[in-house]
């Protein structure tokens, strides 16, 4: 056998003459099919080894090996086999792979077979054949629809401790390994003129027509083989077999550079404005992804036009015990025989309400499978060659514990008959796959002639529907609709496409007489096999007045979980319609939402996992700080040095206390790059800042810095920082680290939307400058060694709150600000970011003679609490300028964001909270942050609450814990002893109300 013949894939098993031997192992393997019989693939299911072939799915390989039992049902643990041959599968869900790659609830029908595939059944213990929980089935009379709602109501206290843990343990199907997924998942973006969703006859014809016109085309199909039902049927197209025609089209498409063919790609959702989500399974069909390749890719496809050519899904008929392994959809049985050369059993019966079911009988007979009966609900059923026909008959019951053995018929004349069969192929008609048409606002409409819903209403923008998805079920109609749909879609884009000569194809009419369920029988007739919903459950829901389809779904769980009722919804709502005495279209359908089929969390996360979950921003001194052994802390996306432990220090407090004391005694250096920086320039820069800050800025002289407080428009304090005036028309504004992005956004809003004619420009320069705080009595001496000598930075020439442009280290441009967060004589010096690393080394070197220390965010925090400076804990979104002790700063003489509403009565009460400091009465006590404040005596309650502590720290300067926080009339209560209480932990500490300025309250140091 040559490679060429192998690649056509249409001939099986001639490779080494061992066909017989293979068939011997794979007892239900047939001849032919599109599998490549030359190479056996080994796989395991529940630990047992089997062989299959390339082109198999796990389901087809298991069937070929005589395995019908593939899972246990969700609620009753009923033995279940495969129902379908596609992504609509409700039953054959397995755990695929193991370890970090283990994936629960994977459909055996879509899992492509590869050598070494490992699968396990789910929801059973100890084994699939003997499942302890099958005892649930005995109690099915109690476990009907609404069971949980009715049973687990009382007593209420039982819910959390008893009911929920039990339900949780029983719930779910598959399990996860809790190991990290070792594989990569990618995200990508694609653009096209026409997106064709589905590569059956409709989609292929559309892609071919559009591709030949030169348009940019993407055609995607969830299957690994293009062709859709053509691979499952025996129809020819023109002179070719269906699959040969597919190969010919595929070859032509592959040669077109303007066409992207995407097999193994599911369009999961139709979003606004022609955007589609797609998941491409790049490596799910191999043992492990090739090096450098992801397992899956989440694509976002921007399409100018889209054509839904997603085909149709067959629906079953409900009857008593219709869930035994071996009861399958007729189209699936046919697909397994024709495409996969597999049959669930050598003896099959067919149960149908339409002509399509008869094709299964004919195809099976042609493959040498014995068809023991064709049971057609219609009295006028067409004749059948090679099998006994029971027209006007129904299947009323089945037998077979772990797999079907026989079915019982009620014949047209009223008598019963048992028919032996190991599989029953059931067809209740076909439902167009309308799902994506409903992802925006589409509501399907009922078509009586095909007894099915078709797309209708407002479809997603620029989407058209063609072929079986639109209710045109014949191959000829599909080809025509695909070609014409492509021409129409492209003409809207001004692209001329020609309808190719359409090949001849079958054009059989749809002959279907709706038949949803067999009314006979007292046992359970299964509608939704995945959720164990029966006809009786629907009747119960109706009886208990859960009659809207959305209520029906939620009360019975019909149509939930991984298959979203693709095979069951229609039956459920048809029965509801019957019970309510309504027509099916009056009952309507439930809402279809994305995703079309289940999507793994991994592909949603993409590369944003672990350390890459979000960007990590490093400060300019990060590398240097790492060299010093710094501990880092996440501040937003930033990593900042938290403290710098020295040899011998065993507790973080030792490091932090040392950093604080050395800074206050000599000099310390801290990277403050993370604070937001906004460059404000223009003739109206001062007027603009005057609008932004609550306090006055218009008259700030050049060369000066001012503290600024920003309010929200509702009068609550928003952010604080400094604005330095470098020129008449140039300010540099700083914000807190957390609000850097938001303040910039708000300032742009004000600039463009509120004051559009102001001559002012803004740019964020947070990352353009590396900025270091140099604080402590020796700060100036240190900086004088770094700042070039032509710049006089003496106290007289460069006083407190001064700013200016200088150069450092022999000409490197820099900005110097004399501002202090620590309360010490302090500066901040900024250099272009690329010199940040050099700058920290230079500063440390220059500081060596003073014993300069680097300090981290902890020491920074301790010093600002000692100084009583507000930070994020105090500007917490509930506090006003008045609360912060800055009420008088809010100018009443000008318009600025927030000043009008800050005057509201409620925000200016006499007993308003005021920022004050707290010291423990007993110096050894902690001052716990978050504690609420209560008067010295009296009850501890919300009603008697006096305020709360926002920030606390151990002050190495004072030798005790201290805190700052908000206390009612706090400014008038200094010296009072009150209680800081934490009722959650049952803790209470006596604290004295003091000034928030613990260190240097007169501010002499920072002016020195």
């Amino acid at each position: 056998m040559t490679d060429a013949v192998m690649n056509t894939g249409t001939v099986a098993f001639q490779a080494d003459g061992s066909t017989g031997a293979r068939k011997g192992v794979q007892v239900n393997r047939l001849d032919g099919g599109l599998i490549k019989g030359s190479k056996a693939l080994t796989f395991s299911f529940d630990g047992k080894r089997y062989t299959g072939f390339e082109g198999d799915t796990l389901a087809s390989a298991l069937l070929a090996n005589g395995v019908r039992l593939m899972g246990r049902s969700f609620k009753y643990h009923r033995p279940r086999g495969v129902l379908t041959s596609g992504s609509e599968e409700p039953n054959a869900l397995v755990e695929l792979r193991s370890g970090g790659r283990q994936e629960p609830n994977t459909r055996a029908t879509t899992a492509e077979l590869y050598d070494g595939l490992e699968a396990n059944s789910q929801n059973r213990w100890p084994s699939l054949q003997h499942d302890f929980m099958a005892v649930n089935d005995r109690f099915s009379n109690f476990l009907t629809a609404g069971f949980y709602y009715k049973t687990f109501m009382w007593p209420a206290a039982f819910w959390e401790k008893i009911y929920e843990p039990i339900i949780r343990k029983a719930a779910g199907l598959g399990s996860i390994s809790f190991e990290d997924d070792p594989d990569a998942y990618d995200k990508g973006f694609l653009h096209c003129d026409l997106l064709v969703i589905g590569a059956g006859p409709t989609g292929l014809m559309a892609a071919l027509t559009a591709g030949r016109s030169g348009a940019q085309v993407i055609i995607a199909d969830e299957d690994f083989l293009l062709g859709g039902r053509l691979n499952a049927e025996t129809f020819g197209i023109g002179d070719l077999t269906g699959s040969a025609w597919v190969e010919q089209v595929q070859a032509e498409l592959a040669a077109m550079p303007n066409v992207r063919v995407m097999p193994r790609t599911t369009i999961i959702g139709a979003f606004d404005h022609g955007i589609y989500g797609a998941v491409e399974r790049v490596s799910d069909h191999v043992l492990a992804p090739e090096a450098g390749k992801p397992r899956q890719i989440l694509w976002r496809i921007y399409s100018k036009r889209a054509m839904l050519a997603a085909g149709a899904t067959e629906r079953p008929i409900a009857f008593e015990n219709n869930d035994r392994p071996g009861v399958m959809l007729a189209g699936a049985v046919r697909a397994y025989a024709n495409r996969w050369a597999a049959t669930p059993d050598q003896t099959v019966a067919v149960f149908t309400n339409n002509d399509d079911g008869h094709r299964t009988a004919a195809d099976l007979i042609a493959k040498g499978v014995k068809v023991t009966a064709v049971i057609d609900t219609r009295a006028d059923a067409p004749q059948v060659d090679g099998a006994e026909l029971f027209a006007g008959a129904q299947v009323v019951d089945t037998k077979g514990r772990l797999g079907l053995e026989s079915v019982q018929l009620r014949l047209a004349n009223g008598t019963t008959r048992d028919v032996h069969c190991g599989a029953l192929a059931v067809s209740g008609g076909w439902n167009p796959n309308v799902h994506l048409t409903c992802h925006q606002r589409g509501r399907p409409a009922w078509r009586e002639d095909i007894a099915a819903f078709v797309p209708a209403g407002t479809l997603p923008q620029n989407m058209s529907v063609a072929g079986a998805a639109n209710g045109d079920f014949s191959t000829a109609a599909a080809l025509r609709a695909g070609a014409e749909g492509a021409v129409a879609a492209l003409s809207e884009l001004g692209i001329t496409a020609k309808t190719a000569d359409l090949p001849e194809a079958e054009d059989a009419p749809i002959n279907v007489t709706p038949f949803w369920y067999v009314k006979e029988g007292k046992g359970r007739a299964w509608l939704d096999q995945q959720n164990d919903v029966t006809v009786k459950d629907v009747k119960l829901a109706h009886q208990e007045n859960f009659r809207s389809v959305e209520h029906l779904k939620r009360y019975t769980t019909l149509g939930m979980a991984t298959d979203q009722g693709k095979t069951s919804n229609m039956g459920g709502l048809a029965i509801m319609a019957e019970l309510a005495g309504k027509q099916i279209p009056e009952v309507g359908t439930t809402m279809f939402r994305p995703p079309y089929t289940p999507v793994s969390f991994g592909v949603m996360a993409g590369r944003s996992v672990g350390e890459e979950f979000r960007p990590t921003r490093k400060t300019p001194s990060h590398k240097w700080a790492e060299e010093q052994g710094a501990e880092f802390v996440e501040v937003g996306q930033w990593l900042r040095a938290q403290w710098f432990p020295k040899a011998g220090e065993t507790h973080w407090r030792q490091s932090v206390d040392r950093e604080v004391l050395q800074t206050r005694n000599s000099v310390g250096i801290c990277d403050v790059t993370t604070l937001g920086k906004i460059d404000v320039q223009g003739k109206d820069a001062a007027a603009f800042l005057n609008k932004m800050y609550a306090n006055a800025f218009a008259k700030l002289p050049v060369g000066k810095v001012r503290y600024g407080l920003m309010l929200r428009e509702d009068g609550i304090a928003y952010d604080d920082g400094t604005a330095a005036r470098f020129a008449e028309d140039h300010f540099v504004v700083t914000t807190t680290t957390a609000n850097a992005v938001l303040v910039y956004r708000n300032m742009e809003f004000a600039r463009q939307c509120l004051f559009p004619d102001m001559d002012v420009q803004l740019i964020s320069t947070t990352e353009a400058w590396a900025q270091f705080a140099v604080a402590g009595p020796n700060a100036r001496k240190l900086l004088q060694k770094v700042v070039d000598p032509e710049f006089n930075i003496s106290n007289e020439a460069f006083p407190f709150m001064g700013c200016g442009e200088v150069t450092v280290a022999g000409g490197c441009r820099a900005r110097l600000f004399r501002i202090s967060f620590s309360g010490e004589l302090a500066y901040e010096i900024a250099v272009p970011t690329r010199y940040g690393d050099a700058m920290i080394r230079k500063l440390m070197e220059a500081g060596e003679e003073f014993g300069a220390v680097p300090y981290g965010t902890e020491a920074l925090g301790v010093m600002r609490i000692e100084k009583g400076h507000a930070a994020g804990n105090e500007l917490n979104g509930t506090t006003s300028a008045l609360n912060l002790g800055m009420g008088r700063m809010v100018s009443k003489k000008k318009d600025c964001i927030g000043n009008k509403l800050s005057e509201r009565e409620g925000m200016n009460q006499e007993d308003a909270l005021k920022l004050v400091g707290f010291k423990p009465v007993n110096a050894a006590d902690p001052v716990p942050a978050g504690s609420h404040l209560m008067n010295a005596d009296g009850e501890v309650s919300a009603a008697t609450d006096q305020g709360y502590i926002t920030s606390a720290a151990y002050s190495p300067v004072l030798g005790c814990s201290i805190g700052i926080g908000f206390l009612k009339r706090g400014d008038a209560r200094k010296g009072e002893v009150i209680r800081a209480v934490n009722p959650l932990e049952g803790k209470e500490v006596q604290v004295e109300v003091v000034s928030a300025h613990f260190v240097d309250p007169e501010g002499e140091r920072l002016r020195g």
């Binding site: 955007i275 923008q461 809003f749 004051f755 004619d757 509403l901």
Partner: protein, 95 residues
């Protein structure tokens, strides 16, 4: 969604930050007699129409333009996209 930026052409809505009702442009006069009431209404009272809605979007991952997008909140159809600065000027805002 795709927002047709007046300067940059069609851009994915992911590049934008949503703010809300474009009436936020109409900030009251702080010296008006009933300024407090006007600010209250400006800040807290919004229409929430099912249908056409003029709203503010910020092209934060782009050119930092604030845009006024007229969008149907039911269908997500975008009818017009304007630079907020131009809208503000036509509504009498200046300095």
């Amino acid at each position: 969604m795709i927002i047709n930026h007046p300067i940059l052409g069609p851009r994915d809505s992911q590049e934008f930050t949503y703010l809300g009702d474009a009436t936020l442009i109409d900030r009251p006069d702080w010296q008006a007699e009933d300024a407090a009431d006007q600010f209250h209404d400006y800040l807290y009272l919004r229409d929430n129409p099912a249908g056409e809605h003029r709203e503010l979007w910020f092209h934060e991952q782009g050119d930092r333009s604030w845009l006024v997008v007229t969008r149907n909140t039911v269908t997500h159809e975008i009818l017009t996209v304007e630079l907020a600065r131009d809208v503000a000027r036509t509504r009498g805002r200046s300095k």
